[in-house]
Symmetry: C2
Subunit: 197 residues, 2 copies
Amino acid sequence: MSEPPRTPQSRASNARPRIERAALQLFIDSGVDAATTREIASAAGVSEGALYRHYKGKDELALALFMETHNRLGEMLGDALSQPGSLQERVHRAVTAYCRLADEDWLLFSFHLVSLNRFLPHDSRRQDDPVTRIEHIVQAMMDAGEIPAGNAAVTTSMCLGIVSQAGQHKIYNRFSGPFTQHVDTFTRAIMAILLQK
Amino acid sequence: MSEPPRTPQSRASNARPRIERAALQLFIDSGVDAATTREIASAAGVSEGALYRHYKGKDELALALFMETHNRLGEMLGDALSQPGSLQERVHRAVTAYCRLADEDWLLFSFHLVSLNRFLPHDSRRQDDPVTRIEHIVQAMMDAGEIPAGNAAVTTSMCLGIVSQAGQHKIYNRFSGPFTQHVDTFTRAIMAILLQK
DNA sequence: AGCACAAGTGAGCGCTCACTTACTATTTTG
DNA sequence: CAAAATAGTAAGTGAGCGCTCACTTGTGCT
């Protein structure tokens, strides 16, 4: 008894998080293929072999880091959009969720943004893909007459482009400060696109 | 004198364009790093060495293909935006130029779009960069009161996001048909963003 | 103290890659 | 038409990559 809340992970130098941070930075700067396992280990201050104690290989490491953001984003967007409220409110919640995720861990978020091309197969049409889900919502609103009719896929891409391109520009240091501070700007822009005719 | 307009290329099988098309497709599908010179040569139906008759190496080939679109785009956008006309007209001309370029050679255009991350260094602030030029125009319009004031970099990124994300979605086969058919949709969306407050 | 075991090490292995070399075939040129 | 230049081929070559493995170290438990 009187056991302190024992953390199930064991001791040592905690290489894993250091490997992950180093890998993220290198993957963003040079790309997953160009970043070598030696570089990652060196930047993390551990040996190359340590990487393989935690991941099956470089590709699995990259995929895990991508999925960490991707799954989280899927849930957050799902929640934000499915809960009740006006169109405005739902868009605002979704944009807020996206920006919060970005500010919470910018490195992880940046890697996700620049890696979408690699990890989302080019003709994926998965029904539970966040993009496809948003497209269905847009289509439903068009059918219901809540927003003007048009090509739902194109409208969806424009709305996503608002926030994703802003993310890219922040990665390129074209502007600074927390992403969250632009939530209202993004929301207004998206509403303008959805409601325009 | 009396020289006929001699075409400077000489030999029959014309490996060069076949190498370029094969390289574009592979670069888009697998990425520049993952596409091997053997794969490119094989897909082009030539030997690996043929690649080196025309390009110093794989990286130079990729850069040349990127720059072919990038320089052209820079000129076209410069022309479209600098010539006289209302804001609407200038935006419409720029969007039209972009979409024409896409429809004219979709493979070349796709490669440019998916490779921006690789070839535009992350903190580039070149004065003649198309993005920076557009940002200056937006800033000038804000200063002149032609459009509501705001963060010019963020506004610029949102406008670019409209068309670039639509391009990405077309690459992912989320919609089909010529890109040019959406010119008016894009123009209206961009105007909505610029004029909103 | 002594054991069990997870975490970390780093030399080195097999293999793939971009690129080179040696050669042949086809044009262009004077 | 010979010579030079160009465009192509096939068979390498060595650098460097991801990954392995025999080994060492640190930690918790009894």
